[in-house]
Amino acid sequence: MTIDWNHFTPWSALAGGGLIGISVALLILVNGRVAGITGIIGGLFKPIKSDIAWRIAFTLGLVIAPILWLLLAPLPEITIDAGYKLLIVAGLIVGYGARLGSGCTSGHGVCGISRLSPRSIIATLAFMGTGFLTVFIVRHLLGWL
């Protein structure tokens, strides 16, 4: 393991993480809701009338964030190396797995670990593990990307 000092961005990573923490704090303290994207979207599949609008509002916030950002500054580099077929397969797997495991990087990785939830700690270790393994197989054994 060698750290890539040319691409490691500790300050913007910490600051961005802090913002994500503020977002989580706002949603739990003001609305009493956990900022887990999988759960927020999942709740829209079996909609309960009084429980829809806040979910849409939160998701809308995520979508308009880059648009508002663009009004102030150019967006940082965004590179998607995966081709369309791989993106479709990856999307299906992410959606299915995150919903089955009741959470993703936000719900388990950030909110769950913040609560010191044993379920979320196990889930985070599990998806980090297969994430590392998948990238190793795809990049270094198969040489796809």
Binding site: I3, H7, A13, L14, A15, G17, G18, L19, I20, G21, V24, A25, L26, I28, L29, V30, G32, A35, I37, I41, G42, F45, A53, A57, F58, T59, L60, G61, L62, I64, A65, P66, I78, I80, D81, A82, L87, V89, A90, G91, L92, I93, V94, G95, Y96, G97, G101, G103, C104, T105, S106, S114, S117, R119, A123, M128, G131, F132, R139, H140
Partner: protein, 142 residues
């Protein structure tokens, strides 16, 4: 009024979450994959993103845990389950495979939609289909 305020808070929360992802570089799938690629030159930025978020989140949930209602007097919906079952572990293992394939998880998928990235939109749609497939299987079982 209370309802309206809660929607504004949710919108702001989503917006700040999105800004955080963009600032941290986590809306960039290539940077996420550079974190997951531990055997090559490794970019540990994601560790600090999670660390920063958890440091703030930890305090927020400490305060939240002592309250029965939120600041807007809405019920606190904090998960209570402590059961580590097959469903949780298998779901997380599967999710990690997809995350490793594209470097995109659910929140950045929505940010990518806002950037107008066609690849991001393709991923988002198939992610929603994946969630829908699970819902369908679950509802048939009942």
């Amino acid at each position: 009024m209370k309802k309206r305020l809660s929607y504004i808070a949710a919108l702001l929360s989503g917006l700040i979450f999105g800004f955080g992802l963009i600032l941290a570089g986590m809306a960039n799938p290539a940077k996420v994959l550079a974190f997951l690629d531990i055997t090559a030159l490794w970019d540990p930025s994601l560790v600090l993103v999670m660390g920063g978020a958890i440091a703030v989140g930890f305090v927020a949930f400490k305060i939240a845990g002592k309250r029965t209602n939120s600041f807007l007097d809405l019920p606190m919906n904090i998960p209570t389950s402590r059961v580590i079952d097959k469903r949780l572990v298998i779901g997380a293992l599967i999710f990690g495979i997809g995350w490793g394939l594209a470097g995109i998880c659910p929140a950045p998928a929505f940010v990518l939609l806002g950037t107008g990235s066609i690849k991001g939109i393709v991923f988002l749609i198939s992610m929603l289909v994946g969630m829908g497939i699970l819902e369908l299987i679950e509802s048939r079982r009942k």
